[in-house]
Amino acid sequence: MAMDLSIATLLTQDGITNGAIYALLALALVLVFAVTRVIFVPAGEFVTYGTLTLAALQLGKPPGTVGLLSGLALVAGILELCSALRQREWRRLPKRLAFYVGAPLLIAGAVQLMAPLSLAFPVQIALTVGIVTALGPLLYRVAYQPLAEASVLVLLIVSVAVHFAMLGLGLWFFGAEGSRTPAFTNASLRLGDMTISGQSALVVFFSLVLIGVLYLFFDRTLYGKALRATALNRVGARLVGVSPTLAGSTTFTLAALLGAVSGVLIGPITTIYYDSGFLISLKGFVGAIIGGLASYPAAAAGSLLVGLLESFSSFWASAFKEVIVFTLIIPVLLWRSLTAHHHEEEE
């Protein structure tokens, strides 16, 4: 089949749509790595949990994420109790229990009760984003916070373990069959020969809005600045009173939010299985690596590039689409590793 303008437009559109989702994941990965030095391997599971939670709500079933959230909340509560016991410091316990146990159980309960009602689509989306986002800080508390001072390698190993655990739980909760969620809109816009689908436009729009909101958070608010400060200089941040725990927990909340939104956005585009997340997040990861895991605009551009590469290679050689994407990345990585200047903590 020869490529003509309308096909090229279609492929470009697909590429940009997927690229926008990868850009969200790249943001999550860059953010988590910069602030906590954790390579966020389970990012993809947040995406699949997002899609599959929404799909379950569509069927009026309480999603499996309710159980996971409650379980994690209980474990986090026990950890908080133990650390309060060990440090003999009770003053902060009520606030922490409210945050790690009370709030998540409230969200889980709400979703459990509301699931069977025939909810409006936007409400289902809100519940999905809420419950998946709430997993973020709990995951940090349970899996990463106890090892906050460990080396990048140890943290990576933990991440891989968390990835497999969440993968297994995903299979248990949602089953092996895939799900697809309905399109947000079937409208489309014709511009001469080109058709722009409303669905793609909405995906790009929501991605841009989320990125914009996060930009404002990091640029304008003191908490956003505190996270950037932690990423720039951990000791300096501690000396002004930004605790690594606060920074880590906030970062994981944001990363989970980005994953959940990606899951909601990607649901109508592809069928998502419990194990689809890894490949999706890997593409976000490649985008993030192109940006050196540090610069976000570069990571977003890299993600867009990955999206376009993927969409055009699926046209020419769809069987080799993944191979082509990941192979073409090698020269970029080589170039990056040769030109990378290491950001040493400066005197």
Binding site: L222, K225, A226, V235, L239, E345
Partner: protein
């Protein structure tokens, strides 16, 4: 311990502090005390453990021994909790946020106060711009592009944004032009006048002893000499080693010499 006869409230009391890096112990049982409203200087050769001492008091290093601050043990509190109670450190490496503006660096200095709902942060910032007009002129410049002296000012300004009750300064005059060094010491004196207690580490021993009330000489991880600043200044060994004076060694047990 002659100088401790004046009955004053201890703001910081360190007792028998041991700090180790791995298997190597850097501080071997250091005891030190900072009275409320006073300036205490610690001098000593390179590698004596001065920076280690401040990091340990701040909670950045695991320690053995007792540290009490404002009447309570801080052994179990985190760095952030100590910052919240007005214990602020200007570290030797400054640890500024290089890719952020001067204004943001200062603002972050007040992070704990902001969390606690303090409404007077903008006032403190204006005072700091008044005290260091240079920082005010450069408020949008990135901290990483400041000159060495400007960075020192920013580090000090950032610590002051935390409204310290005990300010710990690790060589605040390091690498500064003589005029600015004078400026720094006059700021230290004004801070004391406004009620801030200061624990000062300085290579510039003469100027440091002049502004401070008492002093300690730290050598190879131990307090070698302690005393009131005036006494320390007259101590022949201190004079010879740290003040660069060639004095004829007096008889053993010269007045003012306090060995621990």
């Amino acid at each position: 311990m002659g100088y401790e006869t004046t009955p004053m409230n201890a703001l910081l009391e360190v007792q028998d502090l041991h700090v180790a890096y791995g298997n190597v112990e850097a501080l071997h049982g250091v005891s030190l005390r900072v009275n409320e409203g006073s300036i205490v200087t610690v001098i000593g050769p390179n590698g004596a453990g001065k920076t280690t001492l401040l990091a340990a008091i701040m909670g950045l290093l695991p320690v053995r021994g007792e540290i009490s601050y404002a009447g309570a043990s801080v052994a179990r509190s985190s760095v952030e909790q100590r910052v919240a109670t007005g214990l602020c450190l200007v570290p030797e490496r400054r640890e500024l946020f290089a890719a952020m503006s001067v204004a943001d660096n200062l603002l972050l200095g007040a992070f704990q106060r902001y969390r606690a709902g303090d409404k007077s942060i903008a006032r403190t910032r204006d005072e700091i711009y008044q005290r260091f007009p240079r920082l005010g002129e450069r408020r949008t410049q990135l901290a990483g592009t400041l000159s060495g002296g400007e960075r020192q000012m920013l580090a000090l300004g950032r610590a002051l944004m935390g409204k310290p009750r005990l300010l710990m300064l690790d060589e605040p005059s390091l690498g500064l032009a003589p005029l600015i060094v004078k400026e720094i010491f006059s700021i230290i004196a004004t801070l004391k006048a406004s009620g801030v207690s200061i624990l000062l580490i300085e290579q510039n021993a003469r100027a440091a002893l002049k502004v401070s009330d008492s002093g300690y000489v730290l050598e190879t991880g131990e307090v070698a000499i302690a005393g009131a600043s005036a006494e320390l200044g007259e101590n022949p060994r201190v004079a010879a080693t740290y003040l660069g004076q060639s004095v004829v060694a007096g008889p053993k047990g010269s007045p003012g010499l306090v060995r621990q």
